[in-house]
């Protein structure tokens, strides 16, 4: 029997009192380590350039000073931004929030998910983390990526969402 009851807008479930699940706290340290390695890499490269090509010392110091100024916010930022990220699994969709200055909340209904993918880099594995990527139709940035989940959590989520979607399984290890 076809039914089409009228829906009162205020009776729709809203997202005000959701219990947001946090990203794994180790993810902040993982980001910090990655960025520290990156900064150290550039510092070492300039040092090597000094000896090989012969860049004057004062210029190298200027570069390092600049690098230091950039490095401090780079290393501090994850501590601020990671706790701001969160996700909620509801019965019919998954909601993800992120952002400190520009805050965004994205919702993907399970019946629009094309496929789900978990992946992790060697650095992620070192910290016991994984990324979950949820694809919808339309390509070009048409996917939601939740980075820095615990390995078990990512796997659980993947299986749960797949169960909801009934789609194909894909696991990537980069």
């Amino acid at each position: 029997m076809f039914q089409n009851p009228e829906i009162a807008l205020h009776s729709l479930p809203d997202m005000e009192d959701l219990h947001w699940q946090q990203i794994h706290p180790r993810y902040a340290r993982r980001l910090q380590l990655e960025r520290a390695l990156f900064v150290c890499g550039i510092a070492i490269a300039t040092l090597a350039a000094k000896f090989l090509v012969g860049i004057p010392s004062d210029k190298v110091f200027m570069l390092w000073l600049g690098l230091l100024i950039v490095a401090v916010p780079l290393l501090v930022w994850p501590v601020i931004s990671v706790p701001r990220r969160g996700y909620v699994i509801r019965d019919k969709d998954i909601v993800f929030k992120s952002g400190v200055i520009w805050r965004s909340v994205t919702a993907i209904p399970f019946n629009r998910v094309q496929h789900v993918e978990t992946s992790n880099t060697p650095l992620d594995r070192k910290f016991g983390l994984a990324n979950l990527q949820i694809f919808t139709a339309g390509g070009s940035g048409g996917d939601l990526r939740i980075s820095g989940l615990g390995l078990d959590t990512a796997e659980q989520l993947r299986v749960y969402i797949l169960g909801k979607v009934g789609a194909s399984i894909e696991t990537h290890q980069a």
């Binding site: 200055i101 520009w102 805050r103 965004s104 909340v105 629009r112 139709a137 339309g138 048409g142």
Partner: protein
């Protein structure tokens, strides 16, 4: 691997050689230098008269490309299964394509002059979402194309009448006046200009000589007849060039859209048109993700719109969207078409941009534009130029009123319209663009708030469709959240497929 039944593999008509020849020429012109290099080398190496050289080169070129086309035809086989069409092709690199009927979004056909005489068509399968393999079936009979079409629509959905030549009941017909309109409104005329310019330069000394002579004469005339004469000559040159490009694009419009007709056959939209090669496109109504109505300056002046129905975009082929386009359409016809295409849910989704139904977005939209695009760059430019130019650098502040005007214009043109089943978003700066979508086809929704928007209780909503995303900026935060929750409810309770 399927057990192949050799008796069912069949060849197309030998006239398919024409198709392969055309495709070869296209490939050659696309990478002209690499493929023509051997012939150029040959012409240089061969000792003799220039004419002989060219004749020899052209003959060799023709013989080789015809041989390649014949080989392509010889190795091209296809087979019709119950649920798929299999194509085997390739001369050196063999390739087998299995195109499942339920992956096919539409069957498009082209018919050039020769094929029309023999009653043949070239079928191209529109399989959005699949990897970059494009399926073509050259030189098959028209009745075969029709039977395939009804077979495919039979597997996806039971539609009645096959797309026979239903001459009556065309939704829309474009006549020669519309060709003029299409030609005039064609933005590609500018691109042609940009391409032909450097080409003319490359033509070498002769063209230079001609132009130089012309200019010299113009200068002489200017000397004889005074400045007024010079101005007249320059103006006629410019007007002549513009006329030439208008003519070229009108010609292109005739080639592509001559006798353009639009049909609705069951739940399939079909268009036919073209002067030498007849293009026939078909698209299932359920594949439409967004409906876009656009109006540039020229179209506005002509009182017409351009309508395109957008399908799901495949992730592999970037930028090669297969859209169903009606190049010129009146407001009433566009309204009527929208009601048909988005039936039954799209009745209230008025797309005509001058309609009174549109809600404005918050005027704070202008403030952030003026601040970040106008004021900050203007101040920066002033301070940078100050050392060099002194007081004159204040001229860069003139940027500010320009940005203010543009922001005001773009705010005035921005707007949205909500119905129970979908929304329309209007935007534009010089022209207008309005995009209509149905909530039940939405893929995901994002609500974003900047710091400034948070203070003002505003937010931007972005709705992702399979054909791209639609953004409504600067809504009230509460309204944006409510709209998002409503869209989610619509998607999650919908029993209908989105594609």
């Amino acid at each position: 691997m399927k057990p192949t039944r050799p008796k069912q593999w069949q060849r197309t008509s030998p006239l398919a050689v024409l198709f392969f020849f055309g495709r070869l020429l296209k490939v050659i012109t696309k990478n002209a230098w690499q493929s023509l290099a051997p012939f150029v080398a040959f012409i240089y190496a061969y000792q003799g008269e220039l004419v002989t050289k060219i004749v020899m080169g052209a003959t060799a070129f023709l013989v080789i490309s015809i041989t390649i086309s014949v080989l392509h035809y010889w190795f091209f086989r296809f087979q019709l299964d119950d649920d798929a069409i299999l194509i085997r092709q390739g001369v050196i690199k063999k390739k087998q394509l299995d195109i499942k009927f339920d992956r096919i979004q539409g069957i498009n056909t082209q018919q050039n002059v020769v094929y029309r005489y023999f009653g043949l068509v070239t079928i191209s399968f529109d399989t959005a979402g699949s990897s970059g393999s494009e399926g073509n079936l050259p030189a098959v009979t028209r009745s075969f194309a029709e039977s395939l079409r009804s077979k495919i629509s039979g597997t996806t959905e039971h539609v009645g009448v096959p797309a026979a030549a239903t001459d009556s009941g065309a939704l829309l017909r474009l006549d020669w006046r519309d060709m003029l309109r299409i030609g005039l409104a064609d933005r590609r005329a500018l691109i042609v200009f940009a391409i032909i310019g450097p080409l003319l330069e490359r033509l070498g000394d002769d063209a230079d000589q001609v132009i130089a002579n012309y200019l010299e004469r113009a200068a002489d005339n200017a000397f004889q007849f005074g400045v007024a004469g010079g101005v007249i000559i320059v103006t006629t040159t410019v007007v002549g060039l513009i006329l030439l490009f208008a003519l070229v694009s009108i010609g292109a419009a005739f080639l592509r859209y001559h006798n353009f007709e639009l049909f609705l056959d069951g739940s399939r939209l079909q268009s036919v048109g073209g002067l030498l090669t007849r293009h026939e496109l078909s698209m299932h109504l359920s594949k439409i993700q967004t409906l876009r109505l656009e109006q540039g300056v020229v179209l506005r002046w002509l009182g017409r719109y351009r309508l395109s129905a957008r399908q799901a975009r495949s992730s592999q082929k970037q930028g090669k969207d297969k859209n169903f386009i009606v190049p010129v359409i009146t407001a009433e016809a566009a309204n009527h078409l929208r009601e048909l295409l988005l039936a039954p849910e799209g009745d209230d989704l008025v797309q005509i941009p001058t309609s009174e139904c549109f809600e404005p977005i918050s005027p704070y939209y202008m403030r952030s534009h003026i601040l970040f695009v106008g004021l900050l760059p203007a101040l920066l430019a002033t301070s940078v130029f100050w050392l060099e130019f002194g007081i004159a650098s204040l001229a860069s502040l003139l940027w500010l009123p320009v940005v203010i005007l543009l922001s005001y214009q773009s705010w005035r043109r921005a707007g949205y319209l909500l119905s129970a089943e979908g929304l329309v978003r209007r935007s534009g700066l010089i022209g207008y663009r309005s995009v209509a979508l149905l909530f039940r086809k939405v893929q995901r929704v994002t609500v974003t708030q900047s710091r400034y928007q948070r203070r003002k209780g505003l937010a931007s909503l972005r709705v992702y469709m399979a054909s791209g995303s639609v953004r409504i900026p600067y809504l009230g935060h509460a309204a944006a959240k409510q709209l998002r929750d409503y869209i989610l409810y619509k998607v999650e309770s919908s029993q209908l497929a989105w594609h």
